[in-house]
């Protein structure tokens, strides 16, 4: 018997191997447990969430029983970027931002149950759909609409978009980026609004200045081109005509220190936060610039880059008399107001933007809307243009500010302007 039973030691050997394997598991659990647990954090925390738009339309719902989106494909596509997806293919979006909140883990407690969410968004899904359709399937761009009196975001659309229910393994470039919040673009002429504000505040004789443009001009020997000759303009008509040469001179007069200060002050080079989503910071040359570079930077070229969201904040502040009500997208968010610029500067800019429409763009482009705006056509550098239109309605019943960006081709007024008209028309009609 002894001879046989001594060999039973082989069982202990196997047991030792098994326990060693279990030990390996425990060590790996201690090392990687947090990333394992957080990978399915929505499931692991047991949290659930429901997101409605401002009219009670269901946009997304998640719980242990599954993850759901809106029922129709157009809404899913139009709201894809602001909502994000459950699989984490988009880095930003409200769904990932919410699940961020339930990432509490320790080896002792595991993941802890956080609260269940039921949110109404300030977003208007119908407006999102209208904006998404206005951009169209074959164009790329972004549309942002915000109530400048309350800070409620009404519309956030980025294109190209995708249907989160049907995963496209080879999507067009930029599909998974929310261009409203997480990308920066060459601003072009819409940046003249910033240069204008700086000029109003720092150049005492700005209203007396006259500019002469023959279609192009020189700053320190470097040619600055305009689309058309604008002949004689003053500060106001230089903005409405978007005269590059005039604004080149204004920028040089303002000086680079002032330009840098105002760009920073107005929040163009900072990151902002929209209910847990961090936005992209823009760029303005911080190194010393010669006059030609400063001139180009003053008209939104050179190394200028802005995030559409920071431009929205800026026009909101102008529309609201210099006080920015920080935008938000979840109903019930405590509003914060920021004195972004002097009330008088804001009022002046508002008048000038209204003048842009009445004097230059033509009110018939925006029938029935008290439109104040500024267009822009930015040269990207690869031969294509970013066409911009930003502004707001000077209308107490419909206090909406907006930013429209159409990438790759087109002209500010013709392309972005007409999208802006469609979106604003939809917003007002409701």
């Amino acid at each position: 018997m002894k001879k046989i039973t001594r060999r039973a030691i082989s069982v202990l050997l196997i047991m030792a191997l098994v326990l060693f394997g279990v030990g390996v598991y425990v060590v790996r659990l201690l090392e990687y447990g947090d990333s394992w647990a957080l990978y399915f954090s929505r499931l692991n925390s047991g949290s659930s969430g429901v997101l409605h738009d401002r009219n009670g339309e269901l946009l997304a719902e998640f719980s242990r029983n599954g993850s759901f989106y809106a029922e129709d494909a157009l809404t899913r596509k139009a709201c894809f970027h602001i909502l994000g997806d459950y699989e984490g293919r988009t880095g930003s979006g409200l769904i990932p931002a919410f699940t961020e909140g339930i990432k509490d883990y320790s080896i002792f407690t595991g993941t802890t149950h956080s609260q269940d969410y039921e949110f109404n968004l300030t977003l208007d899904a119908a407006l999102n759909r209208a904006a998404y359709e206005a951009i169209g399937e074959d164009r790329e761009g972004a549309v942002l609409v915000c109530n400048y009196r309350t800070g409620e975001i009404l519309c956030i659309v980025s294109a190209p978009s995708t249907d989160p229910l049907f995963y496209d393994p080879d999507p067009p470039a930029g599909t998974y980026i929310n261009k409203c919040l997480n990308a920066t673009f060459v601003p072009g002429s819409v940046f003249k609004l910033v240069t204008s504000a700086a000029a109003i505040e720092t150049v005492s004789n700005i209203w007396d200045r006259q500019f002469f443009c023959e279609g192009e001009g020189e700053i320190a020997g470097v040619k600055i081109a305009c689309v058309d000759p604008h002949w004689t303009t003053n500060f106001r008509t230089a903005l409405s005509n978007s005269c590059n040469y005039a604004f080149a001179q204004i920028a040089v007069t303002v000086g680079q220190d002032n330009m840098k200060r105002y760009v920073k002050e107005y929040g163009f080079t900072d990151k902002h936060e929209l209910n847990g989503i961090t936005t992209a910071a823009g760029n303005f040359e911080t190194a010393y610039m010669g006059d030609p570079e400063l001139a180009w930077a003053g008209i939104g070229q050179w190394t200028d880059l802005i995030c559409p969201y920071s431009l929205l904040r800026y026009v909101c502040a102008i529309a609201n008399g210099g006080t920015l009500i920080e935008p938000y997208i979840i109903e019930g968010t405590e509003t914060q107001s920021v004195q972004l610029m002097n009330p008088s500067t804001a009022d002046t800019l508002r008048d000038m933007m209204r003048f842009n429409v009445t004097d230059h763009y033509g009110e018939d482009r925006f029938p029935g809307l008290a439109m104040c705006g500024k267009s822009g056509t930015a040269e990207v550098g690869d031969g294509t243009n970013n066409s911009w239109f930003t502004g707001f309605l000077d209308d107490e019943e419909h206090p909406y500010a907006f930013v429209v960006l159409i990438e790759k081709g087109g002209y500010g007024l013709a392309d972005a302007g007409s999208v802006a008209n469609t979106v604003m028309y939809t917003a007002v009609r409701k």
């Binding site: 002894k2 039973t5 202990l12 047991m15 390996v24 598991y25 242990r64 883990y105 595991g110």
Partner: protein
Amino acid sequence: MDFFDYMLVLSKYALIIFSLIVIERALRSMLSEKYDDEIWAYVRSGKERVPVCHWENLIGRSPSADIRVYAPGISGVHAVLCRNDKGQWKIYDVFSRGGVWINQLQAGYGGAPVRDGDVINLAGTRLTFIELEGEKIGKLEKKRSVAGSRVFPAVTLVWLTLFQSTLLMQLLMSCEPDYSGRISLAFVSVIVLQWLCFTAMRMINKSGFELETLAFFMTSIGISVAASSTPEDMYKHSILVIASVFLFILFGWWLRNLKRASSMRVPFAMIAGVLLALNLFAGNSIFGAKNWLTIAGYSFQPSEFVKVFYIYVGASTLERLYMRQNLYAFVGFSALCVTALAFMGDFGSALVFFVCFLVISFMRSGSIATVVLSISSAVIAGLMAVSARPYVAQRFATWGHAWEDVFDKGYQQVRTMSAAAAGGLFGKGAGSGWLQSIVAANTDMVFGVVSEELGLLIALSAVLAIAAIAVFAVRSARHCRSAFYSIAACASVTIMLAQMALNILGSMDILPFTGVTFPFLSRGGSSLISCWMLLAYIKGSDNRREASFVVRNAENYTRPEDPRLKDEGVSRDPKPAEVKKA
């Protein structure tokens, strides 16, 4: 936090405390209690008297002989002295050089009966055989320590009942009201069952209850998993638990009689073969492996039952082992089983059988060469299987890379890992996990479900329970009456260990995912029943005094009538030889 939350948190800690107490008490009882050998007879050489402690004793010069005899002419392995259920002794010459004589008559390879006072002549060395009568054996028995005298099994069972009640409370807090009745019934029936078992054992004076306690402990965790994942099936599950315990007792009773047990080897081998053949030709496929058989509406996995038969065929009494030194028949049978399983695509079970084969063949032959040869031929066969079956190759390709394909190939592993990690040490509460809703979570990924819902500590205590059973089986194996019980017990725990390892490490991406059940925990009738039947083998090895119902009390055996008692002149040779108790 409301009242319910406090209760849940409190119950989580209570659950861990109860489970640790149960495991600790069972372990302490199994490992610290004295394990005295039984004494069945003596062999006297001159003044020296050596006890015969088993029913199968190896006599020889070898240091691992049970009765060690140093004398010229004695082979390392010389003879095997055996006793049967009726108390009749026989001695077998196991191919010794010097031969064996009983009272001058040569004992052949077929064995010769030995009776009280007979002189056993081993190549000239004479030993006197002294048989003990029932009364004397009983007296000697009284000196042995009784199982369960240090750590009272009833108290352990009370702690286990507390554990089960807490588990039930957690489930009732989380389950749908419709199912609370069925879940309660399952727990109440297991609690009643374990106390009934215990009472019945006490009534027949059996006090070793650690194995059953640990098995009931794990079965309860299994009930919790079932209640969480398939609450609608709880009636069926309760019946399965009752059936398992019933079959455990039935099979244990069958094993009580060594002759009856060991004579059924060939029929059992045939049943196993038929089951596998039926499975191969009439089986259906669920989740990739064609290892299910449906008879009259009931689906079961034949391979689970074949495990029980396989051990039965593999285990062997000592004399048989030495009389037939080759392993060919067993190797052939093993190869048949493993090949059949591989053909079904059940590579997990094939691997479990293979590990079991290694242990049995090593215990039988003691040959490292056999083990090395087996492993290398298995590796070659495995490679062939991998190349022949693309889905096996794919599992190997996924192994260690589960996180790279979260939605397809690593689907089960990453979810198991994530949910297990999310449970932390104390779990989310029974019935409050999500992993259970995934296909096969309550069988192949059960370790993850337990980790998520009951916490890592409870999951590890299930590992500890299996390890405790394994250590106990190895410890008991030394004191068995027959090698049949020793080998069967060791083979049983090997199967449990191998399944546990494949289940945990496979679902955690440390080994390839093969889809093997965790003993006692995984949901599924075939698995549960086979585990309880395997437990009967281990129960058969528990030779402490009055411990196991599978082992008959020594004092109950009376010495059979010696037909020669009327005869005169049984010669006793006084010639001394050096005899030592090994």
